[in-house]
């Protein structure tokens, strides 16, 4: 679970780092990805794992389009940019939920076939559900890719654009292109997480909300703009969650992970690996 949190959070972290604001529609991007996986699976009957690149690409497109159509405009406002962004993405989230309900109805769907679906790997006493194992591996791989991208010059340009979105023009960087790519990448990461999640989680218009909050906490815990931080924090949160549920009341497991988050933040106000 931790890795999925981490990957969802990584996408958020990219976007966060970029536009320097909470993307409230993040959970809805996840929801879209899950629906994309579900619909494609239903239409084609292809194994969901094979759909990974398709959905990732699709979400990449969605991310780019969202940026170009909406976020770029939100970024260009002169006044109270921070709040405008919060509420533009919040409005978008509500809109997307409504859209999903409109297009797919409120029902719950799930993917029931595929190589990994419903299988379990038994290693002695320990049972490893195959979908989760596969999800973890894929997420880890995606993470590696993201980290690599972040180390390239493009990654640096992304950071620079966040720092001063006007000044990058002085050195010939097209901020809209960089940002759109960043949004695309962030969304693609969510897309991958979404497909993997869809192999073992149900899909519904409101599914995003369940993960979004955890993603925010993960990002803040890891430190804004730090991908490695998101990874560490995601794993940590997954563990804390499981431990609280095991040792204390399961209904309090989120309290456990939130408490850890608050404790860490009082000691390290910029998250585990954050710089901003």
């Amino acid at each position: 679970m931790g890795l999925i949190y981490a990957l969802v959070a990584a996408g958020l972290s990219l976007i966060f780092g970029l536009m320097d604001v909470v993307n409230f529609a993040h959970g809805e991007l996840l929801m879209l990805a899950m629906y994309a996986a579900f619909v494609l699976w239903e239409l084609s009957g292809v194994d969901p794992l094979l759909l990974l690149p398709v959905v990732a690409l699709l979400l990449f497109g969605v991310g780019m389009t969202l940026y170009r159509g909406l976020i770029a405009r939100a970024l260009s406002v002169q006044f109270n940019r921070g709040m405008v962004q919060i509420f533009v993405t919040f409005g978008l989230a509500i809109f997307l939920r409504g859209l999903a309900q409109f297009a797919f109805g409120g029902e719950f769907h799930s993917i029931t076939s595929g190589v990994v679906a419903g299988r379990t790997l038994a290693v002695g006493e320990v049972f490893l559900p195959l979908p989760q194992v596969a999800a973890s591996l894929v997420c880890l791989a995606a993470f590696g890719a993201l980290l690599l991208i972040n180390r390239t010059e493009f990654g640096r340009a992304l950071e620079a654009t966040r720092e001063d979105r006007e000044a990058v023009a002085l050195i010939g960087i097209d901020r809209d292109r960089i940002f759109a790519l960043g949004w695309g990448l962030g969304a693609a990461a969510v897309g991958i997480a979404g497909v993997m999640l869809a192999t073992f989680y149900y899909v519904s218009p409101n599914v995003g909300a369940n993960f979004a909050l955890i993603a925010y906490v993960t990002v803040a815990l890891g430190g804004f703009g730090s991908l490695a931080g998101a990874l560490v924090a995601g794993l940590l949160i997954g563990q804390v969650e499981a431990l609280t549920a095991l040792l204390l009341e399961p209904s309090l497991k989120q309290v456990g992970m939130f408490a850890i988050y608050l404790v860490v933040l009082t000691v390290r106000p910029r998250g585990l690996l954050g710089r901003i």
């Binding site: 719950f108 049972f127 519904s204 218009p205 369940n210 499981a242 549920a245 095991l246 399961p250 209904s251």
Partner: protein, 391 residues
């Protein structure tokens, strides 16, 4: 002829929207059966042609959306009463909204028929205008334990322990309280009690706990999304409990069966509806067909209760002879409908002082080949229960 407008308040958007949509279809189908012309159906108000005592007046159901927000439920109730001038309210699926709707009904002195709310606390507040056709969780749970007792006797493999898993809502907590109490009374050990966060991203740890408890029967109380997740989580860790006895809700949803596929096979659930009890309830095929025409689905626990409640209400309005709240209330208190006139397998409908239908007797069903089949009470069972406990 004129119309009698009835206000229904359901979640039409948000998490529980599918419930609201189904309710809409069920209520409209029922209204059509009551109003329309068709060969008589052997049930209460099954002759069509509207309400005879009101000159064939038609009933019309207007839907309002409460989004599972008590404040909005309250506002919608007020709107329906004052603006749509409805003489009676129906709804509302979730307990929190029923709490505020019943309050509005009380203040405006309009009857409120709680059709599918099962929280036992609802009818215990001394309300005069509150009626509940459906069984509540205590009645449901009693049926479960009756079933345990009887099947134990029948097969010689009694239930010795149960594990409770329930969501941290009013529904889950109430349900678990009754289950705990009845288990104690029946001398059944409660091996584990797992209260979990509704809509969690994962229920693996919870499943782990259940596995560790290793009880004869797992008794979940959950809505659809968690129900789906729970079965998967148990499967993932290789836990296949000998029996699952669900407090309906999510486990009764078609979405649940569809999404869970083979995993759902063999799950027991209490129900207030037995779609397969066609012999005892001859009206089922016709009503089901009418509902299916609108929704593409078969009637289930919720929708059947909605159909029944609307029948009962229509009958009461008809007996009242006027669409005015006080008269309807009076007629409701005098309701006495025998079970055979319904589509649900209850003894009948008769409200006590608190507005609770005391003759709503639930059944136990089991998922067999992807559909729920009634297995208890044995006299209306359509199939034999698959009972693995102690085997």
């Amino acid at each position: 002829a004129e119309e009698v407008v009835i206000g229904a308040i359901y979640p039409m958007s948000g998490n529980a929207a599918p419930i609201g949509n189904d309710a809409k279809a069920a209520l409209e189908a029922t209204a059509e059966l009551i109003n329309g012309t068709h060969p008589p159906i052997p049930m209460l108000m099954g002759n069509g042609g509207g309400l005879p005592a009101l000159g064939g007046a038609k009933i019309r159901v207007v839907m309002a959306d409460h989004q599972n927000d008590p404040q909005k439920a309250r506002a919608e109730a007020e709107r329906l009463i004052t603006q749509e001038k409805v003489p009676v309210l129906i709804g509302s699926y979730t307990s929190a909204t029923a709490a505020t709707i019943s309050q509005v009904a009380e203040r405006y002195e309009v009857p409120y028929i709680s059709m599918d709310n099962s929280s036992p606390s609802l009818h215990r507040r001394g309300l005069k205008w509150y009626f509940r056709t459906s069984p509540h969780d205590e009645m449901f749970t009693e049926a479960m334990f009756d079933f345990f007792r009887d099947i134990g006797k029948k097969t010689g493999r009694p239930v010795k322990s149960v594990a409770l898993i329930y969501e941290d809502s009013i529904f889950g907590v109430d349900s678990s309280n009754v289950q705990r109490k009845l288990a104690q009374e029946a001398g059944i050990r409660v091996a584990a009690e797992v209260k979990y966060r509704a809509n969690s991203p994962s229920l693996s740890t919870e499943a782990q706990r259940l596995k560790a408890a290793g009880a004869d029967v797992v008794m979940p109380t959950s809505y659809t999304n968690d129900a789906i997740l729970m079965l998967r989580a148990m499967n993932e860790i290789g836990y296949h409990p000998r029996a699952i006895m669900a407090q309906a809700a999510g486990f009764q949803e078609p979405d649940f069966i569809k999404a869970s596929g083979a995993l759902a096979e063999g799950v027991f659930s209490r129900s207030s509806y037995a779609g397969d009890a066609v012999k005892a309830r001859p009206a089922i095929p016709a009503v089901n067909a009418a509902y299916r025409a609108r929704s593409g689905k078969d009637l289930n626990d919720n929708t059947a209760r909605q159909v029944t409640s609307l029948q009962v209400l229509a009958d009461a309005i008809n007996r009242a002879g006027a669409a005015n709240p006080a008269a309807i209330r009076k007629a409701l208190t005098e309701t006495a409908v025998p079970g055979v006139q319904l589509i649900v397998p209850w003894k009948g409908v008769r409200f006590d002082e608190s507005g609770q239908n005391v003759e709503a007797t639930p059944v136990i069903q089991q998922i067999t080949s992807g559909v729920y089949r009634t297995v208890y009470p044995f006299d209306i069972a359509s199939v034999e229960a698959q009972w693995n406990v102690g085997g």
